[in-house]
Symmetry: C2
Subunit: 574 residues, 2 copies
């Protein structure tokens, strides 16, 4: 391929709407173009990167006995009604009616389609275990697409579904897949990806892991223990709080607190630490608008994912109206009508005393609250967000740090959620009907490409690993107007093509600086530079995009040297 | 891969809803499963076939300087409004609103997306020519999906778009693509595909060709000259009719024809040939319901595609009401109100006389009509369907035969329809703004797979060409319960895998007949049969699915023999 005819514009200026580097470089480098919010077309360089990623994924899925299948993008709503998700998933699922008025959906994930495909086939225990996967376009109508390919609405995903006759067998295969994922990320050039325990969200199931590339621009927060191997998405991490209430219990006392609305203000006013306060956080249930009041230690925040899971339904921040019976800024647990509101006590309030809190009337707070004495027995639930410096749920030390990460893959133990709801059964060896147990395993191809770019770039462009680079080599003819220079370049281009080296050739009659900045954006790992000056010495200059290589090689040796170096660099990615 | 764990059911009975063989065999062979009307999931064997087809297409598109890109499945309606197709395309385009209420469409073709991708980039004549293509899922809400993968609603398509600065350059590239298509079909095992001139339909543009696999189950009718190389879709074929009106002109005469409604009946009643009649065919315009009356020689049929193209709007068969001013069965051109109805005279009526026709009042016909004498000068338009035995528009002989075919690909010269409507321009070498000229080139991957199956199958299953077979070899262990037989089979399986031979292995403990009928459905071109009886002689039996090969090979030679045979068979597909 010649740069001269490569469709796509390359330019220097960072587009103003790009907040992350991979997004800016992929726009600047002619990798993609926005078609609508969160929807992109890919030019050739990106398509080559994603195809290589797809092939790596395919090889690793095939190696663990995956069967490549294909599910439809457009599915009848009735299929999603079987599992109950047609109703339970909200506006992120695109819906339309076909010409006959039949309700249809666009696939955002394919558990239903997977069960549909195999539920008659896998009717006997002898058919198990097996795994099917596809690499296919998905559409998820994200509310806030952002960061280029990191969070989009339309994306290509590898999604795999395994079926088992026992939890043990699922766990065995889950581990196999866990290792395959590690190989995939290593082969794509980001072996530093870590796994974290995650929340299963709308997928259902219990055990699940996310594969995270740690980076400041990540959307997820990850709790990592600095002492042990504990790692979890903050959304899933258990919050452990130790309270000390050995001192004297003070009495409950009403305090007039005019103009004081926040828990920080009341603690300042009373000159007590935040840890000795009981904060109220108010939500409403999405379906009924019923109020949910969460009480939590004043220095902590509510983890809405854990709260949603506990409640079993979706919530949104509550709007406190004049007539609702709650007073914004003055809500507290003492004498709050627990029949009228869903009240949740976070575990951080266990074993506390002398708390300040709202008094459920305007301009008043209490101090000296002791829940067990003043309110009685309550159920404590963990709905707090783990914090920097918090207690590790595994080793128990105060060694949690919180980092940002991009989720590049996930694996879930789904259990029987889909097989039960969709009536998939098999006869076990005793002749009894059973529901198979499922696992599912996803990787977003475009997001993975962007993540590799995040991990490997400089200000001039992406530094692609050899395994997924759009081209392995860029050949630069520095003086296309010099007949000999052009002739040698043309010959090297032909020779490299003949050797099946993936080469992009720049023979435009432009300034070297311009040529090199384009090459930086294309990001081929190796560069062969042909110039009249070097030709006098019978050599070409060979450099690497990551600046670890800069050498001069005799013209006749160039192709062999390149072949050998490509081989080496491909092996590095294994 | 082992048959034992291959997801998908295989069975003997032809499903009652399958009217074509490829559909029945693909359902019976565990290739696919219906998810909704015209929407299928693919099991592994079909996915392997389509992936191989995709790779062949990709190689041939890359070889003619195609740049693989990717457009979205979901596009904003605004993009389609630019070209005017958001309005002009009907219910076959799926539409929905996203969560923000923005109208979106599902791509059924990607001309708009192609222009969108390159319209800023290709702003100078130096960037031309170039071609971009993708292999992507499309959705077209067909009114009548049928015949399995032959006509579906969701399908994978390779669509390519080329951009040029002159009609000559488009034609040059069109020819290049024409040859690439021939190579693709040959490599997929159906070199017998022919090209025919076609109607451009909703794509716009003028010159276009379809690639047709001739088969009785095809949906298209193709006019083929038995003397010269003329071939055209009947929808596009010019109809040439020669009339002889040398005899005596008879006078126009009203005839009472009670109970006679069809042109056949009136000709019988008058004892005149059908060629001496003027038939009326009544349509209505879709938008306005205005009546269109087509007069055509009584022995011919209207070609609705040509009529639509002439009128420039969509039509449907007319419903003749009591008040509409037309009389079903008695409509004729004499004294018909040509202000009130759109009246079209087909060229077959040129140079005729002594015609019988309706009299525009119930129970009456005329005989002796001569249009030029009785009606005056009229414009004649070719809207007739070419017939078996008709005149070849190229060589002029009565040598047309009409065959059925499946359209497996198409190529269009689009002209500037999309670049003009979407404002894509470039500066030519004189510094003048010009609109680029486009070509577009499509192949449906699933339909191609089904077409190959139509062309190559027997009653027992598909006979896949080596180039696109799901597996190259099926290894049959006839006695899995015989330790030695199983051990040898296992070793051959490992050895073939090590040699990267694509092998599907049946080591189930089942009857040979059952194993072979499954193997027939899977359709691997070669079969290696391991049995205790042959093992006594130190041999394996090797057969081919197409029954041209049936030999016994020494056990130690099996893998080499298979490798060599695969190589030979792959070469046959080139």
């Amino acid at each position: 391929m010649k740069v001269d005819k490569l469709a796509g514009e390359r330019f220097k200026e960072k587009p103003s709407d790009c907040v992350v580097d991979s997004h800016a470089l992929m726009i600047r480098g002619g990798y993609m173009k926005g078609v609508a919010n969160g929807i992109y077309s890919s030019y050739m360089p990106l398509r080559r990167v994603t195809r290589k990623i797809e092939n790596i994924i395919r090889e690793e899925m095939d190696a663990i006995d995956g069967q490549e299948v294909q599910f439809p993008v457009v599915m009848p709503a009735s299929l999603w009604s079987e599992s109950g998700r047609y109703e339970s998933i909200g506006s992120e699922m695109a819906r339309f009616e076909d010409r006959n008025g039949t309700p249809m959906v666009l696939g955002m994930t394919h558990e239903e389609a997977a069960v549909h495909l195999v539920r008659e086939y896998a009717n006997s225990y002898t058919k198990y275990p097996f795994m099917i996967y596809q690499i296919q376009t998905k559409f998820r109508d994200e509310g806030r697409p952002r960061a280029g390919l990191i969070r989009v609405r339309e994306f290509t995903m590898k999604d795999a579904y395994s079926f088992h006759t026992s939890q043990e067998d699922l766990e065995r295969y889950y581990d196999v897949c866990y290792e395959a994922y590690n190989r995939i990320f290593a082969r794509c050039g980001i072996p530093e990806v870590i796994t974290v325990k995650s929340d299963s969200g709308m997928m259902g199931g219990s055990v699940s892991h996310e594969y995270m590339l740690l980076t400041a621009i990540g959307e997820d927060s990850i709790a990592i223990c600095n002492e042990c191997d504990y790692r979890a998405n903050v959304e899933a991490a258990e919050s452990i709080i130790e309270n000390d209430c050995t001192g004297e219990d003070r009495p409950l006392e009403l305090v007039h607190t005019p103009g004081i609305h926040t828990i920080e203000d009341i603690c300042n006013y009373l000159n007590t630490p935040l840890e000795e306060s009981c904060k109220a956080v108010i939500y409403q249930k999405n379906l009924t608008d019923e109020y949910v009041v969460v009480f939590i230690r004043g220095d902590l925040d509510v983890n809405e994912t854990k709260l949603t899971n506990y409640l079993g339904e979706e919530i949104h921040p509550g709007e406190v109206t004049d007539s609702c019976g709650l007073y914004a800024g003055f809500t507290g647990p003492y004498r709050l009508d627990r029949e009228k509101f869903t009240v949740v006590f976070d575990s951080s309030l266990k074993n506390t005393h002398n708390l300040s809190c709202g008094a459920n009337k305007p301009e008043y707070h209490y101090k000296g609250l002791k829940i067990s004495r003043d309110i009685g027995e309550v159920e404590y639930v963990d709905v707090a967000k783990i914090k920097e410096g918090g207690i590790c749920p595994k080793c128990g030390k105060h060694t949690i740090s919180v980092s940002r990460g991009i989720e590049v893959g996930n694996i879930f133990q789904l259990g029987t959620k889909y097989t039960k709801s969709m009536g998939m059964q098999y006869l076990d060896s005793e002749g009894e009907l059973q529901y198979p147990i499922m696992g599912c395993y996803g990787i977003g191809v475009g997001r993975l490409a962007a993540s590799v770019c995040e991990a490997h770039h400089d200000e001039y462009g992406p530094i692609w690993p050899m395994s997924i680079a759009p081209w392995q080599v860029e050949l630069c003819c520095l003086r296309a107007d010099d007949e000999e220079c052009k002739a040698l370049s043309d010959r090297l281009y032909e020779d490299m093509n003949a050797e099946k080296i993936e080469v992009i050739y720049d023979d435009r009659n432009i300034r070297p600086g311009f040529m090199f900045s384009d090459a930086d954006l294309i990001g081929a790992p190796l560069r062969v530079i042909v110039s009249p000056r070097n030709m006098k010495d019978g050599i070409c200059e060979i450099t690497s995009r990551d600046k670890t290589l800069n050498t001069k090689i005799s013209v006749d040796q160039v192709v062999d040297f390149i072949k050998k170096t490509i081989e080496e660099k491909l092996n590095e990615c294994k």
